[in-house]
Each structure stands twice: as structure tokens, then as C-alpha cells.
Symmetry: C2
Subunit: 397 residues, 2 copies
């Protein structure tokens, strides 16, 4: 399971195009394709309002097979009616035509502003040109092309050593705002040359998303476009991995590690964020309770602004768990900022100067011990800054 | 039911003290008392973590009787253990002693920072002095003394014409941050010389709070100190009002109007707020669904920052209702900004320039018609600005 710097798995090709979807001057379309059909799996937003490409992919993934995905940034193609759906189909058809693959095996993903039609008059010639005269791009190029308010590209690669061969897994993600737990929360594409059954692939992906992307929150807003896709083309040549069979555990572990790495990158790149914060709840009556408590703290504007200001204001944490909807005895609660005890049995312990030192750091762990059970949960979040407001007040201007 | 400018009902006296609780130079304690015992009712925070004065008042209100309330700003006396409770008791005892009233009839309320003990060494002499040499203050003085991050005092008065006499109802409130629906959400004190049974008083108050303070949200953070109290000393001389008897309906209506006026003032004074926004959901399958949809939109950071930036970004509203937890068909949804239709059957209708005109205003109504039922709800909120972050990042410094 050694790390390899942004490697492309065997048989995968990346091309990009420049279509000036939001603004000119950057590559805003990427096509990731495999030379052979691949096992495929996906996890999508649970938002009732789903973007056209999400609806299309859900349909096309039913057979557990795909060969390419075309992704654009700058426009979400959400709330765009039949025209939006037709545009998503057309983008996939262009890719299918050019690469000589079945159109049903071509997936689509979009990210950007909601409610505006894709500028097909610019997308079509740009995509046509790049597919007709393909230039091989790197994983990092792909990661850059899918960025919106992200400030850095997010990519990661790993090797898996199997008895017969080595397989490579690579992944890219984008996400900086509209990031809430309980959903896929962003765009993420995983490609691997591992030979794996699509049921096993879906199982590993669903588990990994639940433990990674579903544990982060920037603003508690859940997007209409969240999509995580995995394509596995089998070109590593290993014996086919099936659920819980040989190789499955290694793949599952690697996938989870990689998605966690990307999830953490997304929080660190949270719009306007200056601090990375882990909210850890232990000793709750159940994991469900722990999760609810941790999320409420992670989403409290008052907690997030206090962290932004370096104010070790544990009172806001007590207030947040108090309105989380979980029933508990406040007199049992301990709170730590890193290793500094700040609340014992529900009351302050006057460790203010030590607590303020912790809050000067860029990476803070807030541990809340409910002291009544075995339930535990971890949520990763960031602070709320004036820059978050700036970025989102003027996103379309 | 005519309005009277900040009148004091018969038999009520207001005094203030300057105790430098958070900082010197302002009156930060107010005592509101009646010359005779009064029927009393209260609504308190549903936060599991309740401040000492909240716990004390809940106990002392059981008999439906009170005669005075002492309120301090600058310190919430929350998460302050036995010492905090003892301090609340001591403040009430000083008032009871000085005014020669039963200590059980003296209530306490606090607002400000959580987790710090009250500076009793400053509060005691200041309170003692002001009670020993009382100076009669106005309703507006009281409203000013309970302010924290509020930028203006909030007070309102009304007369109720009854067959035999006229009764006066006056109320003050404070609240600018840590304001979430589903709770009393702030401090509010209502005094009246109406003669009314305490059961009727509690009934009218609970209903009024549900329809007013429970319908506003600034930051979805629910305080540990939310308290709404009503004292009715009966000195207007009317025949005792009982639940649903003569005069009850008039009082209930007036109380609801007054609390709504104060609730709107609190949202308009929302920390950093520049716009007042009404989120109106109609045509939902139930009032509960409508409420959930309206609250999710009202609390969405992306919607609130778009409003701040004057960006008529209806896509964020569609995304917010989509993750509200309510099941619905996106293709039935219409959205209006004031009277401008921006979404028809779930899709944009290209009224952007008209929509942007609406978003330039300081008072905006967003109407979301689900078009499937009779459920309706209204929530009042404000935009999220860089100033909100500034105010809350450095609240304690």
C-alpha cells in the first residue's frame, strides 16, 4: 500500500478542454476514460433536488459498468429542466462517439452555479476539438479542471500489492463550500486498474464515503450535485476481487484512506477557512447521539466564529450540545481543547490561558466526553470567517 | 387597543444599577417590580444546558405568582455550577429584602458570556445602592440596560380597553445573536396592570411565543438563557380575566402583536444584519413540512450570504429545500422574490433583472409554493454578513 505521486492506473486516459463555461482562460472540462469497459459504482447526493447529470448517472450506473466520465466546472446543470438533461446526454454522446464507446457507459458530472443552462455553443466545439486531437493530461490536470472556489487541486494515488501484481488507485476531488455531512458532499472520481466485481466496488465505496465524506462539514449546505464515482478497469491483471474475498480488504482500506485524505483536503480548503477542527465526541449513549452532538457543534455559527477569532469560548460548545436534540445530563460533560481540560462536570475549570494557546493553532481537536456510555463520533470542520461571507455573497458577480 | 409610547402599567417601578459587569460606564442591571404581588407566567429555553437564573425562575414560577425580576446583562451566569446558582439566589434575596417582598416572588434573568462567575463584588454594592436610593426609570431605560450586542433598545406598549377600565401592557426585549426558532430565543419581559388569572396568562404567553419568537432565526444557535416572563398585577381594576373568558381574547391578541413587534425588532437588529427577510412557504403537505422547509432556507448560510451580496440566487433556495428532510416533487415548486416569479415548476424563468431589483431592497419576502397541499409557515430572518463574523469572532475580546 505504498503511496505513488499522482500516478494514472493502467489503461486510463485524461484529456481536458477549455470552454469558458464561467469565464475564459482555464480548462473547465475533463474527460477521464478507460481503454476498456470498467466495473463502476457511485454515491450521489441525497438532496431531493438533483442535478441533471446526477439523475443521468444514477440511471446509467444500474448495470455496474462504465468506461468514461465527462466533468465540467463552472455550471452545475441543476434546476435546468429537460434542456439541462438533454445537454448532459449530448455531452456524454459526444464523448461516446469520439472514443467509440457505448453511450450508456459514459457518465457526466457538473459543478458550479445552479439554474443556468450550460453554454453548449462553447462546450461543443471545445469538447469536440479536445477529443479529436487528444493531449494526455495528468491526474493533477484533471483535479485542477474540476475546481470552482477550491484554492488547490486535490489528488491522491496509492498502490495495492496483490499476490500476482500491483494495482494502482487514484482519485481526485473538488469541494470547498456547500459541504455538509450525510451526503457525498462534493465531486470525487476514483479510477483503478484493479480487477473487481461491481458489487464489491459499490460496497467498498458506500462504506468509505460514510466514514469519510459523510464526516465533514463546512457550511451544512448540501449540494444538488454531489457525486462520487469509481471506475475499475481490471487492467492490473489480478484475479477478480469479490466482496469479502481476497484483495477486498486491502482495497477497502486503501479506498477509505484515500477518501479520508481528500475529505480532509476539502475541509482545509473550506471557503475562507483558516483552521482545521476535529470535533470528537466520546462517552455518549450511542454512536447516533455522538454523531448528532458532534455535528451540532461543528455547524454552530457561534462555535465556528469563536474558532475564527481564536476565542476559546467553551460556553458556546456547551450551548450547542444543549440544543442538539440529544438528552443528557450537563453535569456529566467534560470538554478538552487538544489535551487541555476546559470543562469538568459541565463547568469551567479556569484553564483559559492554556486554552487560548491551543486556539492559536491551525489544527485543533475538541473532545467532548459525555461520560455516560460508549457512543463515539468524529466530525471534521473548519472555522467561519469573513472571507466565507465574502466568497459566497459575491459568488455569481 | 391603541398604542401608547412606552408607558408603564400602574403599580410597576423600574430602577437600574451600574455594576461594570462586562465593562464600566453603562447601566447593566435593572429591577422591575410591582407594588403588589402579580400573576406570573414564563417560557424558557429548551436547551438542555440551562443557565442558573432559568433553573431558579422555573422553580419559583410554579405557584404562578411573582412581584419583581432582577436582570443583568454582560454575563449569562450559565455553566457556573453551584456558585452561579447561589449568586442568582443572592441577587434575588437582595431585591426581596430591599423591597420587602417574598424572596420566592423575586425572579432573575441574565444575558451575556457563558461560563464566567458573576462579579458579585461589584454587583452587590451597585444593586444595594440603587435599591436603597431608588430613582424611577423608564421602560426604555430598562430596555437599554438588558442590551448586549443589540444596537437599539426594544420596547413596546399597548392599551387594552375593557368594559370597566383601561389596562396597559408593556414589554421589553433583547436579542441580536444566538437566536434560533423553537425556543424563547432571547430575554423578554412583559408587565401589565391587567387583572388576569395565572393559568390564562401562561396560556396566552405560550401561544404568543409560539407564533412570534419561535418564528425568527438569526444564526440557528439556541441560547442557554432564553426567558420570556409576564407579570400582571391587576391594578387596572378590571374583573379577573380567566382563560377564554371576557377580555382574554383582547389580551391574547395584544400580547401576540407586541411580541411579534419585538421579534421583528430582534431580527432587524440581528448581529451584522443589513436585510430583513420573510421566508413564506405555502402549498406544502402540512404546516410541519412548511415550517421545516422555511427554517432550512432561513438557516442556509449560502442563502443568507447570497442575500447579503444582493445575489438573487434562487438555486441556493432550491438546494436548501432539497436537503430540508421534507419529501417533495421539485417539478411542482414555484419561488417568488416579492411578487417576481423566479422559479416555475422547479426551473428558472429568467426574471433575473427583476429579481435583482428586489434583492436591492432591505425588506424581502421569499415565497415558496410547493403546490401540493394546504400547509403554510412563515419564518423571519436576516442576511449573514462579514460583520456577523466580526462581532462573534471577537465577542469576548
Amino acid at each position: 500500500m505504498q503511496e505513488s505521486e499522482h500516478k494514472l492506473p493502467k489503461g486510463f486516459i485524461i484529456t481536458t478542454a477549455e470552454a469558458a463555461i464561467k469565464a475564459p482562460g482555464r480548462r473547465d472540462i475533463v474527460v477521464i476514460s478507460s481503454t476498456t469497459p470498467a466495473s463502476a459504482a457511485g454515491v450521489f447526493t441525497r438532496n431531493v433536488v438533483k442535478a441533471a447529470p446526477v439523475l443521468l448517472d444514477m440511471e446509467r450506473l444500474r448495470d455496474g459498468c462504465a468506461q468514461a466520465v465527462v466533468i465540467n466546472s463552472g455550471n452545475a446543470n441543476a434546476c435546468t429542466d429537460r434542456q439541462g438533461f438533454a445537454n448532459a446526454v449530448e455531452m456524454s454522446a459526444m464523448v461516446a462517439d469520439a472514443l467509440h464507446i457505448a453511450v450508456d457507459n459514459c457518465l457526466v458530472a457538473s459543478t458550479g452555479v445552479i439554474g443556468v443552462q450550460l453554454p453548449m455553443e462553447r462546450i461543443k466545439p471545445a469538447l469536440y476539438e479536445s477529443l479529436a486531437n487528444p493531449v494526455n493530461r495528468t491526474l493533477l490536470d484533471a483535479a485542477s479542471a474540476i475546481m470552482t472556489t477550491d484554492t488547490f487541486p486535490k489528488a491522491v494515488s496509492r498502490d495495492i500489492e496483490l499476490a500476482s501484481c500491483t494495482a494502482t488507485v487514484s482519485a481526485i476531488a473538488k469541494g470547498a463550500g456547500m459541504i455538509a455531512p450525510d451526503m457525498a458532499t462534493l465531486l470525487c472520481f476514483v479510477i483503478t486498474d484493479l480487477n473487481i466485481d461491481h458489487t464489491a466496488l459499490q460496497l467498498a465505496l458506500t462504506e468509505a464515503v460514510d466514514k469519510t465524506f459523510n464526516r465533514i462539514t463546512v457550511d451544512a449546505d448540501t449540494s444538488t450535485n454531489d457525486t462520487v464515482l469509481v471506475l475499475a478497469n481490471g487492467q492490473a491483471g489480478n484475479e477478480r476481487v469479490v466482496a469479502h474475498g481476497y484483495g477486498f480488504h486491502s482495497f477497502r482500506t486503501v479506498l477509505q484512506e484515500m477518501l479520508m485524505e481528500l475529505a480532509v483536503m476539502c475541509v482545509k480548503d473550506g471557503e475562507g477557512a483558516t483552521k482545521f477542527v476535529t470535533i470528537k465526541v466520546v462517552g455518549a449513549n450511542s454512536d447516533t447521539d455522538a454523531n448528532k452532538l458532534a455535528r451540532t457543534v461543528a455547524n454552530s455559527l457561534l462555535v465556528k466564529t469563536a474558532i475564527c477569532g481564536g476565542d476559546a469560548n467553551w460556553g458556546r460548545i456547551m450551548a450547542a450540545i444543549g440544543y442538539s436534540g440529544v438528552t443528557f445530563n450537563p453535569n456529566c460533560v467534560d470538554v478538552y481543547f487538544d489535551d487541555v481540560l476546559v470543562v469538568k462536570d459541565g463547568y469551567g475549570v479556569n484553564n483559559d490561558s492554556l486554552a487560548y494557546e491551543v486556539f492559536k493553532k491551525n489544527d485543533i481537536v475538541i473532545t467532548i466526553n459525555m461520560n455516560t456510555g460508549q457512543g463515539a463520533a468524529k466530525i471534521f470542520t473548519c472555522d467561519l470567517t469573513e472571507d466565507y461571507v465574502k466568497i459566497n455573497a459575491h459568488y455569481r458577480s
